[in-house]
């Protein structure tokens, strides 16, 4: 089944899990399924039903913007990757695992 690759900044929502398998057949439904199982995570990715401007979503190596957006169909082994913009970390020698703002 398809899976969603959760960026480290959002793994506080998934209990630290990096890959979540889903049964959905579109990216939009996959995110909804992810949010049902890990409430709150979709609000970090979507804003009024569209992807936030500092986040991109890929299916395999391809940006969904060049496919069918959130309606992009998922095949059995597709991997959906959520990729947020990052700037950089500062002055924390041992970064604690946990949520960032994204």
């Amino acid at each position: 089944m398809p899976s969603i690759r959760v960026p480290s900044a959002l793994r506080s929502f998934t209990g630290g899990a990096s890959d979540i398998e889903v049964t959905a057949t579109t990216v939009r439904d996959a995110l909804a399924e992810l949010d049902r199982r890990h409430p709150g995570i979709a609000a970090k990715v979507l804003d009024n039903g569209t992807v936030k401007p500092f986040i991109r979503i890929f299916v395999g190596p391809d940006d969904i913007g060049g496919l069918s957006g959130l309606e992009t169909k998922l095949a059995e082994r597709d991997e959906v990757a959520i990729v947020p913009a990052i700037a950089g970390g500062r002055d924390t020698p041992d970064p604690a695992p946990g949520p960032a703002d994204a």
């Binding site: 500092f54 190596p61 700037a87 950089g88 970390g89 500062r90 020698p93 960032a100 994204a102």
Partner: protein, 232 residues
């Protein structure tokens, strides 16, 4: 053989390994950073030692490159739209090694508008990414639209070895771009967690219709499709 020139925005954890790698490869460097070395920097900015505390990072990093036989000039300033021309007017490639979104977009926007190759590097916690940009390819603003919307990462921290790894990748990509290899242009190399896996996910993205940066580009990304390498 033509001497290659690069400008690096940021002389910290990413800028250090990028500058040393490119400088010792024979690339002439301009290194820009407004900041000074602090004790809290030393765990990940290993180009500096306690002797450098209080000194301008740009000048000290340039000194490190020169001591290794390279050619580098440190400029104690931020990369801004106002300083960009002076810092990178003759650069073959510009590299963002800063830790703030506004500088990343400023570097990318200037490079796009001036038809230069560029690399935007970032590291956070245990991973990071590097985006390769070149004339005719989708740009950083095509990828992430607005720095004002990006979350603050200032207190998230980064593991020291991570910046060395991401900096090395950024230097390699920059060198390839400067030498004319466009195989990664318009692609983002994502290192999710270097404690677990060192292989990047290479993702591609398309030019975004209405991108204001691309509208100022001398070469339209819509008119010049770029062939990119197969992802690993």
């Amino acid at each position: 053989m033509t001497t290659l020139r690069a400008t690096i925005a940021g002389a910290g954890g990413l800028g250090g390994p990028i500058a040393i790698a490119l400088g010792t490869a024979g690339v002439e460097l301009v290194i820009a950073d407004h900041d000074r070395v602090e004790l809290s920097n030393l765990h990940r900015q290993i180009q500096f030692t306690s002797v450098d505390l209080g000194q301008p990072k740009a000048a000290r990093l340039a000194g490190v490159v020169v001591a290794r036989g390279g050619t580098a000039r440190g400029v104690v300033t931020r990369w801004t739209p106002e300083t960009a021309d002076e810092l990178a007017g003759d650069a073959d490639v510009v590299i963002d090694a800063s830790d703030d979104p506004a500088t990343k977009f400023a570097v990318a926007d200037w490079a796009v508008a001036n038809g230069r190759c560029y690399v935007i590097a970032a590291a956070l916690r245990y991973g990071g990414n590097a985006m390769a940009g070149a004339p005719g390819a989708a740009c950083y603003r095509c990828l992430f639209e607005d720095p004002a919307e990006a979350p603050s990462c200032a207190d998230a921290g980064v593991l020291g070895p991570v910046v060395g790894a991401i900096g090395g990748v950024a230097a390699a990509v920059a060198l390839a771009l400067a030498r004319g290899d466009r195989s990664l242009a318009g692609a983002l190399l994502v290192f999710d967690d270097l404690r677990i896996a060192a292989d990047p996910r290479i993702v591609r993205f398309a030019p975004r219709a209405g991108c204001p940066a691309c509208a100022r580009a001398p070469i339209s990304p819509m008119a010049t499709p770029i062939r990119v390498a197969e992802s690993s």
